[in-house]
C-alpha cells in the first residue's frame, strides 16, 4: 500500500468519524429534550419578543445578599 492509498483511507475514515461526532450531538440534543431535561425551542422566542419591557424567557437569578 503506497502513501497516497493510505491517505485515501485516512481521508474516508476521518470523514465518517467527524460526521458521526456531529450526528451524535444531534442525538444528545433530542434525547435531553425528550427526557424533559431541556426545552431548547423556547429560546427561539427571545428574538421575537424583544422589547425592553418584555418578560425575559429566563430571568437572571437574584443577586445574593452580601454579608
Amino acid at each position: 500500500m503506497n502513501l497516497a492509498e493510505i491517505q485515501g483511507y485516512v481521508y474516508l475514515v476521518m470523514t465518517i468519524v467527524m460526521v458521526g461526532v456531529l450526528y451524535s450531538y444531534i442525538v444528545y440534543l433530542y434525547r435531553s429534550e425528550k427526557k424533559g431535561e431541556k426545552d431548547y425551542e423556547k429560546y427561539g422566542n427571545i428574538a421575537l419578543d424583544d422589547n425592553i419591557d418584555s418578560k425575559p424567557i429566563e430571568d437572571m437569578p437574584e443577586p445574593k445578599n452580601e454579608k
Binding site: 502513501l3 491517505q7 485516512v10 481521508y11 476521518m14 470523514t15 467527524m18 460526521v19 456531529l22 450531538y25 444531534i26 440534543l29 433530542y30 429534550e33 431548547y40 425551542e41 423556547k42 429560546y43 427561539g44 422566542n45 427571545i46 428574538a47 421575537l48 424583544d50 422589547n51 425592553i52 419591557d53 418584555s54 425575559p56 424567557i57 429566563e58 430571568d59 437572571m60 437569578p61
Partner: protein, 488 residues
Amino acid sequence: MQSNAAMEYDYSIVKLFMWTTVIFGFVGMLIGVLIAAQLAYPELNYLLGEYGTFSRLRPLHTNVVVYGFTLSAVWASFYYSAQRVLKVSIAESKFLMILTKVHFYLYFVAAAALVVTLLMGITASKEYAQMEWPLDIVIVLIWVIWGVAMFGLIGIRREKSLYISMWYYIACFLGVAMLYLFNNMAVPTYFFSGGLGSIMHSVSMYAGTNDAMVQWWWGHNAVAFVFTVPIIAMIYYFLPKESGQAVYSYKLSLLSFWGLMCVYLWAGGHHLLWSTVPDWVQTMASIFSVILILPSWGSAINMLLTMKGEWNQLTENPLIKLMVLASTFYMLSTLEGPIQAVKSVNAIAHFTDWIPGHVHDGVLGWVGFMAFAAVMHMAPRVFKREIYSKSLLDAQFWVQTIGIVLYFASMWIAGITQGMMWRAVDEYGNLMYSFIDTVSVLHPYYVIRTLGGLLYFVGMVMFAYNFYKTATSGRKLETEPQFKSPMA
C-alpha cells in the same frame, strides 16, 4: 446597574455604524468595479498615476469591503440586536455609552488611516492582513474595546439565556482576536536595524512555508469569522424578527454552531493545496473543508425552514426576499468551496478566476444581501421612520441579483477555461498554450464580470439613496413596528 430608569434601547452607536456601512459599501464597491474594468481594459490602470494601478487598488477594495462595509454592518447589527435579545439598553451604563463611542471613532480613524496607507503603497503584503504594524496595534485596541462592550452588555443583561446570535458574535470576537494576533506577529525593522528604512516597515516573525500556513490560517478564517459567523448571527436575529416566525429549530442552530466552531479553524490549509506545505496538512484541510458543508447547510436550511408556511412573505416583502436569497447564496458558496478544496478539483481551480468567482457569490449574495436587509430592517426602528421606497428596494434586489449571476457565471467559465488551458499538453508533452493565449480567451468574461459588478454597484447606489431618504424624509412612525418593516 439593572435600573428601569432607561426604558428605551439606545441606538446612537447603531446609527453611526449604519452610515459607515453605506459609505464604505459605496467606496469599496466603486473601487471593485474599477479594478474589474482594469482587468478587462488594462489602459484604465493609468488614470491616477501610481495611485490608480490595480496593485494599489485591489487591496484597498478588499479591505474597504471587508473591514469597512462588512464590519460596520456587523457592529451596527450587534449593537442593535444584542441590546434587544439581552433586554438591556446601552444607556443603562454611562461607561458603555462612552466606550461604544470610542469604539466607533477609533474605528473610523483607523479605517481612514488604512485607506491612506494602502494608497501610499504601505503594506505588509499579506492577503486580508495588509495593514502595517502601527495600524495592527490600533486594530487590536478597537477589538478589545468591542469585547469589553460586548461582555459589559452581557454582564448587565436581564435575559439569562444568550440567544444563538450572541454565541455567533462571541465566536466572531474570539476567533478574530486569536487569529489576528498570531498572523500579524511582525518585527518593525526600523527599531532592529539601527534606524534604517521606513518606520512603517515590518517583516513577519514566521518564514517561508510556516508563514504561508499561518497566513492562510488567518486568511481563510477572515472568511469564517468576518464573512460567515457574524453574518449568521445577523440572519438568526433579523429573519425571524422580520418574518414574525421563530427560528425553525433552535437545536439545529446549536448543532450548526458547534459544528462550525470545531471544523472551520482547520480548513485554512486548502488555500495551499499542491504547494510546499506538508501533504498531511493539505489532506486534513481538504477533509475539514468537505465536512464544513454539514454545519453550513444546517444554518442555511434552518433559515429557509423558518419561512415554512409563510412563503407568501417572499413575494410581499423585499427584506425577506433579500434574506432568503442570502441564505440560498450561502448554501451555494458553502457547497462550491468544499468542491474547490477537493485536491483533484483544486488542481484545475487553483489560481484561476473560479476563486474570485466563488468569493463573490458568497460576499455579494450572502454578506451583501444580509447587510442590506439588516440595515433596512433597523432603519425604521432606529430613525422612527418608514422605509422610503419599497419599489426601489425591490428594483435593487433584481438589479443586484442579475449582477451576481453575471459575475459568478462569467468567472466559473473563465476559471475552468483558464485551468484547462494551463494544463493542456500536446502529444509530445509540451504546453499547448502560452499565458497570453489564456488572457485573450478570457477577455469577454472579464467584460461580463465588469458588467455584473457594475450592476451590483448600481444596486448599492439605489440602496444608499433609499437609506438616506428613509433617515431624513421617510414618513414618521408613531409606534415601533413589531415584525414586518413598514415601507412606502
